[in-house]
């Protein structure tokens, strides 16, 4: 559970994510996705309950090298180039080393901005900034990547590119991915398992295929509507 003063943002959230899987947390605005992710990233502490990430407390400093967090509305530095930003992150993780250079190279590939990567980020579109941020989160090869709405602000083509990048990255590096999205179709395509959250509670958790079958639905959106309509939120 998580309280902010008198407001209870999370009332009952419990789920497990297997190593190496892509897990989706889906729900509408204000459902508690971002609060859940911030707790997992060590930014917030739960009011009650127990949270473990890779067997450790989320606030553990050493965990920061193993977990990457991409906030939904992560901003960028206006007067720094995308290249300089990625280099900064690489050096914060690995210092000035060969590993840092490799991470930077991977980041540049993931961002896929070509020569634009050497321009100040204030000149970037929202989509370009998001791609730099996704690249930043994945380039350090985390064991767990927490991606809050990774495709927000991207057009259809770029959103697809990012989804593909996340999928292939997870497969290639064995990275566990925990992501959230408003777009339930996106989650359906990308994730093996999902949890549906509404008004601070997890309504249902399971494999996408099983949920669709169980509810006789064509997509996760229908599953969610059935769950909310059935009073699952209460």
């Amino acid at each position: 559970m998580k309280d902010f003063g008198g407001f209870r943002a999370l009332k009952g959230v419990s789920f497990e994510v297997e190593e190496g899987e892509i897990f989706g947390l889906i729900g509408p605005n204000g459902a508690g996705k971002t609060t859940t992710f911030r707790i997992l990233a060590g930014l917030l502490t739960p009011t009650s309950g127990k949270v473990e990430v890779l067997g450790r407390n989320p606030g553990d400093f050493e965990l920061r090298r193993l977990v990457s967090y991409l906030p939904e509305d992560a901003g960028t530095y206006r007067n720094i180039t995308g290249y300089e930003f990625l280099r900064l992150v690489a050096e914060l993780y690995y210092g000035r080393s060969r590993e840092a250079e490799e991470a930077l190279e991977l980041g540049l590939r993931l961002a896929g901005l070509g020569e634009k990567i050497h321009e100040k980020m204030k000149t970037y579109s929202k989509g370009m900034k998001r791609r730099v941020q996704v690249a930043r989160a994945l380039m350090v090869k985390p064991r767990l990547a927490i991606l809050d709405e990774p495709t927000v602000g991207l057009d259809v083509l770029h959103a697809r590119e990012v989804r593909e990048a996340v999928r292939s990255f997870s497969r290639e590096h064995g990275t566990t991915v925990l992501l959230s999205s408003h777009n339930m179709l996106e989650v359906e395509n990308l994730c093996t398992r999902v949890a549906m959250i509404h008004e601070g509670r997890i309504l249902r958790e399971g494999y996408v295929r099983d949920l669709l079958q169980e509810y006789g639905a064509r997509n996760l959106e229908e599953v969610f509507i059935q769950l909310v309509g059935a009073g699952g939120a209460g």
Binding site: L44, S68, G75, T76, Y77, N79, I80, R87, L92, G95
Partner: protein, 446 residues
Amino acid sequence: MIRPLIAKEVKDLLRDPRVILPFIIGALVMPVVGLALMIPMRAGIEQAIAGARAVGLVDLDGSTYSSQLAEWLSSKGLVVVVLEPGPPGQLAEQAASRGLSLVLIVPKGFGESLERKQPANITVLDMVREISFFGAAGSELVLRLVEEYTLTALTRDTPLTPEVVRNPLRRSVHTYLLSKGVQLPGDPASYIALALAALLVPLLIIGLALTPMQMAATSMAVENEERTLETLLTLPVRPRDILLAKLLGMFAVALLGSLLEIAGLLAYFFIIFLQMPLAGELRQPTEAAQLFGAHLGVLQGFIDPSGVAFLGVSILLSLFFFAALGVIVGALSRDVRIASTLTAPLGFLAVIPSYAIVFMSSDIMGPALRTAFYIIPLTQPVIAAKDLVSSTLPPEAPLYLVSSLFFTLGLLWLASKVFAFESLARLQRSFEALAEKLSRRKPPAA
């Protein structure tokens, strides 16, 4: 680990025209202001002095003395034009038609008074188009010559000389400063300007510190506003390193900016004081030195050069402290608007203890308070400036520099203890409420 963060700070700030432009404009504007002041000043003085090269004389006395006065003025290089007596309006017309700006009216009884060795009357009519700073400069010059003539006339046929009448007593007053064990020429009142110099130190600090403090607060608040801090707090970097990198990077840029501003200020003073061609005619060098309370040679022995070096380092550390304060205020501000609302009043509040020091005598202060003032970076340069002038710096002064630095770093360390996303968010809400209260108190713009 902190190096890439500092580099990021420096790049982000140096490439931001909103940060650099005020420094460049400040540096360029000061010489322009100097020129803008100097040109009308110079013209005003030139006009006033040129106008007084010729003087109108209305001789109502008709005595030998009044005639001698006219000859005396002519012998001193003035053109004396005799005017017909009349009311001021008529005199002004006569003067204007002959290009005169000054008229001397010698009343009846002028010669008789001088004959009796008594003060004589004279009326001076200055013709000015408007009241200005330098309007009296010309008449001062003429009046000095008139005074010289009257003194000569009064001392004629007496054992006295004009010089004796002008300075009847050759005083030799000295001041012995117990705290420094030095003897100084002149009375203690002559040195009040030096004591008041300590008053300038808080103003100097606040003048220099507001920019880095504002910059630091803005830079940190932008991290909150743009949501970059949330990301930064999840990277493998300690909160204290984030704060320190922000402070060091920002301070490096602020120093560069301050150097530009100081260059502009020096150019301003250079233009005003050194390039003013007629300044020497108004004030002799000795008079200028007296303005500062003592001869410059005496000052050199009076102020300890190592103390001045201490003061310089102390001011620098004070700026560092203000910058740290800015970083903390920025971290606690949800956006730039809140940071701006809070930094200016905070800066001025910080000056209050400094003024308490300036006016507090050493006896009242006591050793504990004195030590505290030396340790706190905010008050250290002020008490140091005061001691530098009025007494001596304590022997442990270098230790105080170290303690001042540690005070700032300690403050930053304390701030890093609450520099976590959750506690920052909570504090930011309180700060926002405070900023709103402060904003509401401001009168609405006209």
